[in-house]
């Protein structure tokens, strides 16, 4: 008997009881849709983390000043800037694991250009800023050495600033006013997109010296800076360097090992790991649901197939009397249970896609659809159909023709 004939006969008997077939596959439906959602959440989170590492630059630590909360009284954020360029030089000198440091001062202010207003954040830094944070230039260039040294009024702007001040026109060589000080635009950064926290492209970068002289002289007097982005030469050294920086800074700022520091070291990896961890927990939860429902679904199929075999005992006898071999009967029932589980697989995939779409729309989560998960679902559901369908099918095929025929 050929496979197409077997499939024809199987679908005939499944269609005679559609409701039962679909209800039987319910466990598989839930299982498969959980598998798909689970994999999608997992790979979505992983992708997001990878993208963000890509955006911020891997192996970066952020060192920023922090008002010390001595005797339980906070001095308020941003009120004291204790980091200095001297600290930066000392760190660079003492810790060979540090490959580069980008200093940073910043302010939020109103920008005027082209008759338009825009409120954005202005960063004063060096060219290391572009390297360490993986910024690429869509147009124009970085700062030149003498621009940095002289404190020239030049600026590099992000995509969002361009869009709001110049539309789609090239901003190069245009003049913008930051705090009424005119700056010439020399570069446009490539878009990085938004994160959960901020629009990264909403930025203006000027040379550190210019910023200190013209924009934030009062806020950051002398060689004070707001923060620095520290690039560590390899990921393995990240944690050790973080500790070394802490020790070093305590020494420089004369803070005892257990005293309250006036700085804080942020590690993006930690931050992203937390995000990854929460999606991992979610995935484990879904994997548990998927596993349980696939097993329960399989047992459901086995149960219904056993009922079906009993119900159709006489029919099996008739088939045997006209020449069906054991193998024919075995295959027919196996194909029936396989079809039930594949129907479940199909519906489960549809449901899973619906859930993925819904969740990513509603919660704005990143869910990436992994095609291997579709293949995996098929493999899962069909193997469950075969594994749990085998016992009933074998029971049917081992019936004695005359006993089956006489069964009432």
């Amino acid at each position: 008997m050929s496979l197409t004939d077997l499939i024809y006969l199987s679908q005939k008997s499944l269609r005679s009881n559609i409701l039962r077939s679909v209800l039987t596959s319910l466990g598989i439906i839930i299982g498969v849709s959980s598998v798909i959602t689970m994999i999608s959440i997992g790979s979505g989170a992983r992708q997001e983390v990878e993208e963000q590492i890509e955006r911020f630059g891997s192996n970066n630590l952020i060192l920023r000043s922090q008002s010390s909360s001595s005797r339980g009284v906070s001095m308020g954020a941003n009120s004291v800037n204790t980091l200095t360029l001297k600290d930066m030089e000392a760190l660079k000198e003492e810790l060979p694991a540090i490959s580069a440091i980008a200093p940073r001062v910043s302010l939020s202010t109103q920008i005027v250009a082209n008759g338009n207003n825009w409120l954005t954040s202005v960063t004063g830094t060096t060219n290391d800023h572009f390297n360490l944070s993986n910024w690429n230039f869509e147009l124009g260039r970085k700062f030149q050495e003498d621009e940095l040294n002289k404190g020239s009024r030049v600026a590099v702007i992000g995509k969002t600033v361009q869009k709001n001040l110049f539309g789609t026109d090239s901003p190069i060589d245009e003049v913008i006013r930051i705090n009424k000080v005119p700056f010439t635009i020399i570069g446009l950064l490539e878009a990085k997109g938004g994160t959960v926290w901020a629009d990264l492209d909403d930025t203006i970068v000027v040379p550190l010296k210019t910023a200190k002289q013209r924009l934030v002289g009062k806020k950051f007097p002398g060689d004070q800076i707001r923060s620095m982005t520290i690039n560590v030469s390899s990921t393995e050294l990240l944690f050790k360097t973080e500790k070394d920086i802490d020790t070093m800074m305590r020494k420089l700022h004369k803070i005892s090992a257990n005293g309250n520091p006036d700085f804080v070291i942020r590690n993006y990896a930690q931050f992203l790991n937390a995000r990854q961890e929460s999606s991992r927990v979610m995935s484990i939860l879904l994997a548990t649901v998927a596993g349980i429902s696939l097993i329960v679904g399989g047992i459901g199929i086995m149960n219904i197939m056993l009922v079906t075999v009993t119900e159709r005992t006489k029919e099996i006898g008739v088939c045997m009397s006209v020449g069906a071999k054991k193998r024919d009967i075995l295959l027919q029932f196996l194909i029936e249970s396989l079809m039930i589980s594949l129907i479940g697989g199909f519906i489960g995939i549809a449901l899973g896609l619906g859930v993925i779409f819904g969740v990513s729309e509603y919660f704005n989560w990143k869910m990436s659809l992994d095609y291997t998960s579709l293949v995996l679902s098929f493999v899962f559901s069909s193997s469950i159909g075969i594994i749990f369908g085998f016992y009933p099918a074998r029971k049917a095929s081992n019936l004695n023709p005359i006993d089956a025929l006489r069964y009432e």
């Binding site: 006898g317 045997m320 009397s321 071999k325 054991k326 024919d328 023709p401 005359i402």
Partner: protein, 227 residues
């Protein structure tokens, strides 16, 4: 065609042993129309099931066309039922989900004939029993006589050497019974050996030879002179 030597069949029911066939020896030649008669429990159905390879004897030998069936495994028995034997049952035993044509095709599916050939054979068989206009009807859309004719078509579609009919008219009225017996008679005159089990004299008399059974033994075996 069929040679049976001191065949016995024993059923064990709890502590009781029931001897359904007790040392039966019989020979059926090619082209014969044999009616087996007897009251219920006489062993006539058991004998027929063994002849049809649906059941196996407890002891004794069974030769079908000079082959010793006792040594056959279930696959070879299935093949024999498929190619050489056609069954007609009292309650038709058609598959309710399949239409008349599909029911007739069923044995041809198992013999692995291709689509074109099996459709042709099935249509011919249905035509042979006068049901060409009912091929798409399901069993529950057919009368008893029509259903039995479908089951005869199913029995003959694979051109068997032997047809076994177990009370084929048991569920039919007398007029329809006559039609069915006429079809069987025609098949016999085309050279197909027929073994018929019945307890009705009127039906048994269609046979060219009548065997009477009682308590698992053959008590009478003679040519039917009235025919």
């Amino acid at each position: 065609m069929i040679k049976i030597n001191s065949l016995s069949k024993e059923y064990v029911m709890g502590d009781n042993k029931l001897l359904a066939l007790n040392d039966v020896t019989i020979t059926i030649n090619k082209g014969e129309f044999v009616s087996i008669m007897g009251s219920s429990g006489s062993g006539k159905s058991t004998l027929m099931n063994i002849i049809g390879c649906l059941d196996v004897p407890s002891s004794g030998d069974y030769f079908f066309r000079d082959n010793n069936i006792s040594s056959y495994n279930s696959n070879k028995l299935a093949e024999l039922r498929n190619k050489d034997i056609g069954f007609v049952f009292q309650n038709f035993n058609l598959l309710p989900r399949l239409n008349a044509l599909e029911n007739v095709i069923l044995p041809l599916l198992y013999s692995g004939k291709n689509l074109k050939e099996r459709n042709k054979l099935a249509l011919e068989a249905l035509e042979g029993v006068g049901l060409s206009d009912r091929i798409n009807h399901r069993p529950n859309q057919l009368s008893g006589g029509q259903q039995q004719r479908v089951s005869i078509a199913r029995a003959i579609a694979g051109s068997p050497k032997l047809i076994l009919a177990d009370e084929p008219t048991g569920a039919l009225d007398s007029k329809t019974s006559l039609e069915i017996m006429k079809i069987l008679n025609d098949l016999n005159s085309k050279g197909i050996t027929i073994v018929l089990v019945t307890h009705e004299n009127d039906i048994a008399k269609y046979g060219s030879r009548i065997i009477k059974m009682k308590d698992g033994k053959i008590i009478e075996d003679k040519k039917n002179v009235t025919n």
